[in-house]
Symmetry: D2
Subunit: 429 residues, 4 copies
């Protein structure tokens, strides 16, 4: 077990310069078909419609998470920290590499409509009859189980889980740097090398020594900025909404036994809510995109219109409103129906804090493991109690509503909407 490669392998990586592979197990995992499939799933879903550079895949990101984890561990080993459980190295590296293996194409939209969960699929892929499972088992029959436990946060050593999922984990460190690099938005950059030097294992926890507080502030500010500048960008939301509406329409039609001109493979499984492991591995973005391309020619007007909008990037426009009461929503729906537009598919009110996001917020119910500062007296303090900046970020509530709708349809049919409603729906830049 844990055999070393005869010669270290490297991958050229724009974010970390090089990614180094020393273990045979890691090398073999990368070459499984389940891992190679991540090349066909974009890291940021539909964000490439907003930031044209954001075309990078989960494959790149997964290698990056592995590399960050490798560097953290290698720093721990070099510093000979007694609290670091050396025997967990390979487990950590495998979990880092595989933590996203269950992600399907455009997960946000697919999961919200079809009720799949990428974490569950990750476990199925790690534990099921897969190449990944065989490679892990070969290294150690216990490894698949352990990897699944770490990814599901049920593994019993907090420090191992911390490395993969906490407020300061290899996953976040890679995606901030990577998404910043590919979007071209520089906000996501922070000093990774410095963070590697200030974190350390301490009595089962991952902690930050106090002098590193400003580096963590900088990292959390990066996250804050990336959320508002990139991840929550309303144009990205608009394309996600479109995708969701496409799936909702397809689901509804399927329920009504509509006869699709094109419908094959894993999507039937999704619609039937019965998808096999093999089908899931075949479910990639090419498959979704080609299906949507075909559906541009479906007879159902709503489905074909939504699909053409997605394909040719004719997105819904949006308006930000501080508050949207039930009354306004009712009026909007009625107004659209007047114009002959089905509000179920053409009107979406989006409230950003509804999102499952992870701006640092200690104390949240679903919070990840918080960031602990180790002070001069060897005491642990949750970081937002020391840092005004972090406390401030943590307590920010967004609270903007966005209304998404097909502006050009309204403009064409503007006689059917009251002047008052039209003034509310005047889109910005």
């Amino acid at each position: 077990m844990a055999a070393q490669l005869r010669e270290e392998k490297v991958f050229k990586d724009p974010v970390h310069k090089y990614i180094y592979v020393q273990d045979e197990t890691i090398w073999n995992l990368i070459n499984t078909k389940e891992f190679q499939r991540l090349r066909r799933v974009r890291q940021l879903g539909t964000s490439f419609m907003t930031f044209h550079g954001a075309e990078h895949s989960r494959f790149s990101h997964s290698l990056g998470v592995y590399e960050v984890a490798r560097r953290i561990i290698s720093q721990f080993e070099r510093s000979r920290y007694p609290d670091w459980p050396k025997e967990e190295r390979l487990l950590c590296l495998c979990a880092a590499l595989l933590h996203d293996i269950g992600h399907g194409p455009f997960s946000h939209s697919v999961e919200s409509v079809f009720g799949t969960h990428h974490e569950q699929w990750t476990c199925k892929l790690v534990l099921g009859n897969t190449e990944v499972n065989r490679v892990l088992t070969e290294a150690d029959p216990e490894l698949p189980r352990k990897v699944a436990d770490v990814i599901c946060k049920t593994y019993d050593k907090e420090i191992v889980v911390s490395l993969i999922s906490s407020q300061l984990d290899a996953d976040r460190m890679d995606y901030l740097l990577r998404d910043a690099y590919y979007t071209g938005v520089h906000y996501g950059t922070f000093d990774l090398e410095r963070i590697l030097r200030v974190i350390r294992p301490h009595r089962g926890h991952m902690v930050v020594k106090e002098s590193g507080m400003h580096a963590i502030e900088d990292y959390l500010m990066s996250r804050y900025q990336m959320y508002w500048q990139v991840y929550f960008h309303p144009v990205t939301r608009s394309s996600e909404i479109l995708l969701r509406k496409i799936f909702e329409r397809a689901k509804a039609l399927y329920g009504e036994r509509y006869r699709f001109q094109f419908l094959m493979g894993p999507l039937v499984g999704l619609l039937e809510n019965e998808i096999t492991l093999e089908d899931y591995v075949a479910l990639d973005e090419a498959y979704i995109q080609m299906t949507i391309m075909q559906w541009c020619k479906e007879r159902d007007a709503i489905l074909s219109d939504l699909c053409a909008r997605f394909m040719h990037r004719r997105l819904f426009k949006y308006v930000a409103l501080d508050e949207i009461g039930e009354q306004l929503e009712g009026e909007l729906r009625a107004g659209l129906m007047n114009c002959g537009i089905d509000p179920d598919y053409y009107l979406v009110i989006d409230y950003l804090t509804d999102l499952p996001y992870d701006i640092y917020r200690p104390g949240d119910a679903e919070e990840s493991l918080p960031i602990w500062l180790l002070d001069g007296q060897n005491r642990l303090v949750e970081i937002s109690r020391k840092s005004d900046i972090i406390r401030s970020i943590s307590s920010i509530h967004s609270g903007k509503h966005h209304v998404y709708f097909p502006e050009e349809l309204l403009r064409q049919g503007n006689s059917c909407l009251s002047a008052e409603l039209l003034s509310v729906l005047k889109p910005g830049g």
Copy 2:
């Protein structure tokens, strides 16, 4: 014509920081479905299998070429060079933006098997019944014709053509920087801002003032390095070869009236050598990838094996040989056939200088416009006559043969190959 947008639009771009759009025509071109399609065609084809970061699309690159052209022209206008024909500005920008619009998915392989030409398709898309054509015509009924002429290098003003296709054009300047950025290979970077300052129009030519010679040397060295490090990388070649073999097999089977379990849309057109404009626009990488994914399950053993290799990245290995005589090739073919392996699909001898590449080589038959230096006495000199470095690059001949083959099959069946042949086929790192 040439209406300005009320407010300048910007795209965030990792390479040029921002891409600025001031003209309504440019804005409308970007929003056509033919241009949006470029989001679904990778800039570097199968290179992402070698450099995982190289997942960027022709959409990004096309915006970049536009931006470089815009900056060059804006520099010309600011410097009030009398030899710059100001009235050609919009034409140049449109040609820069659209020069790659005819590129299909994985063009190299598709074109070599099916005989399509992306330049021809670019002209068809510009001149045919398309959204692009409508937008251009709206600005000026002559514009589509002119844009096609510039792209086909038949336009009568050399300086306009130079901007889009010459040894120092906006196309090359963008792709070197962009491909370097996305692969993470830093060789492709050069000082764009300095080059913008040393080029200028001079009596109908684009020239470089002599003091800028070192900047051009640096740019050409970047190109040289990118060719050898990235574009000719044998692993990339290996994946292209696989793709070509897939198409060749499909074509052969189609000729034999094999009944494909999955075959639809534009590919039928390609196989029939009759593809419509509408089908061509639908031909994207999602379509090709999904087809290959489906073909993994075809009954034909060769087709399904090649497809699974491509999908799961089980590439042919390669061996570099200084020379391959006819005799050796014959022995290799015979040896493979002995093992039951069809050499038509599983043995490829690749000679790099066969490639249609464009390392700077003045005097070549198909050469683009060369680089002119304007010396202190206002005389034009072809740059390789002044620069030893450039002369040296220009005269380099590669001359390596690479043999590509499925190594693991040979290893399994190694009794069927002579020891001598096996020793020739010992792959390197």
Copy 3:
């Protein structure tokens, strides 16, 4: 007046890539001996003792401020904002270039001991009998007066003053980027190009359009981080303190008619509190450093010891204390005196908020012009009222005391200090 150079001149600059000079006046100002003198004054004083890369001069920074101002104005002109007073262009550029011309070597320490003020010297140099004055006068006899007014913030157009001294001025934008570049601390980087796009003149004010708020947050966070990571770094403070103590000792000795073995030139002027314009121009860091080097050999033990410490970087160590009462201070002084150490020169208690710093703090008495946000309804709002992050930064109070002292002397003579005091003075990392 405002003659253009026949050909644009450029300076290669690591921060802005190139600095462009188009006006003859600017070119001539750069070539005056008063401006060239800035090459011999470091931008960050003694910070190079903490960050060895921080060896850049005020010359570089001054060119940078000019360049940022030039880009802002050029953006204003390109956008044809009606509220921008075009006729002020050259004035703005000159003021930007010259705003630091009165800075002497190690200003903080020199000014605090000798009572000089760099702003006053800037005015003297602009208005006095200098090359700078002659160049300005040649362009416009009113120009020297106006430049002085802008720099002293008494010029009557707020927008012109804003460009040079406000919370979001060309000065700060350059120094954050530049100091970050030369120290290697990446915290100071922000998206200058984006900021240039969101600021604009509006009814006499410089404002930021609301959608640019996050870019400003990022800029202010950079400033916040640079203050804590670089400008307030205790090692830098320690070397400044040493310098101050050297000057204080020299002043005291001079008052006692001590006979210096080396004392010449402008320093006599400083000690006499009578320094001529000509002497001031000769006052550079070479002069101060050589003097200190010579003083290493003075008979006065305190002076020579302090000078050798500065020269060979044997700095005082420091201890951070949350609070230092009068009693503790008394004990420390007494303890040191017991050891034969003069606390007037060897004990310094430093309280960071005593510093004349400029973390964003609207409402402060000496505050610069605040940052105005222009909201969707065309109303101006001070930015910290919209941004939680900025409000949070603005209200942070540091409040740490640092005690500086020669640790190794204490260690040698530790019998003379009580164990309690010794435990207080245990220096950290």
Copy 4:
């Protein structure tokens, strides 16, 4: 000996991000006054007059060389190369750190006029009665001798010498990257991390594995570009010439027993050709600059004029000529004398290939150790025999003459020069 620090120390460095110190000896060497003196000697002499950012010191560079050497060795150790003599680690690190410790201010000019040699001074500082010597001796009494041997290339293990002085040594790798960073000229960047991965010890030599050839080409091209763009820049040459002329004049005056108004310290030693170790350590740029500042007021018209030119950057202009025969030189001298200008101080003909430069040129008499490629058959080949690019660089001869002279004096007195001579002396950009 070779004691480790309890906790690793780091220096923030803009080029290498961080510089790591693990050995007590290294830490103590950095803190000696001889090493701290390097803070007061600029790495690139007068280049800051051409590239204003180039104000970095030999201190920064020396730390950088140390860091590159540390990384090379650490890569060797991690790869467990059997041909690497592990016991030489500390020696290599000390030699890397100290290799430039004998450099005085503006070495080129000082050495050419006064006949000092920085290598000799390095040995004196390492072997003499210095703090550096004491720190080395403490680690190992043999260490000073060995360090001197490595720096003088007389140490008997080629591989150790290679690390510090060869065509691919830690010195060059740092200075290319560092000088590129500080000048802002990007040509000097190359992929250090990749080079670290392709070099290795092999039977006493440092070699490059063949697949790394392109990385070395890129590195040598960087060097080539840096030489022509930065190190040989005619404006830099012009300021060096001025400095040399100042020293020559002072030497001549001193020979004639001229009474200087200001003359003290180490300069007397230089003029007397008798300088003590202590004086040499005090010889820094502050000292030279202040002396030149004072000399602006000397009675000797030539000395004071040259000094004022240097101080206020009124450099000689230059003209490039393909060839300068004896006759032309004679005419120029005569012409200048006609104008009352002393050609010994005001006319310099500079031939670049006279310079002691080190563009890669295997076979040169004084050549450093060449670059060896290790081919697939484990044979060593000198790299220029494999690489066309490198062969081409190696054989380039510059061959431009530059004439430097005070253009404005000629312009004022142009009646005294023949029209023919004036046309020859028409300076370019």
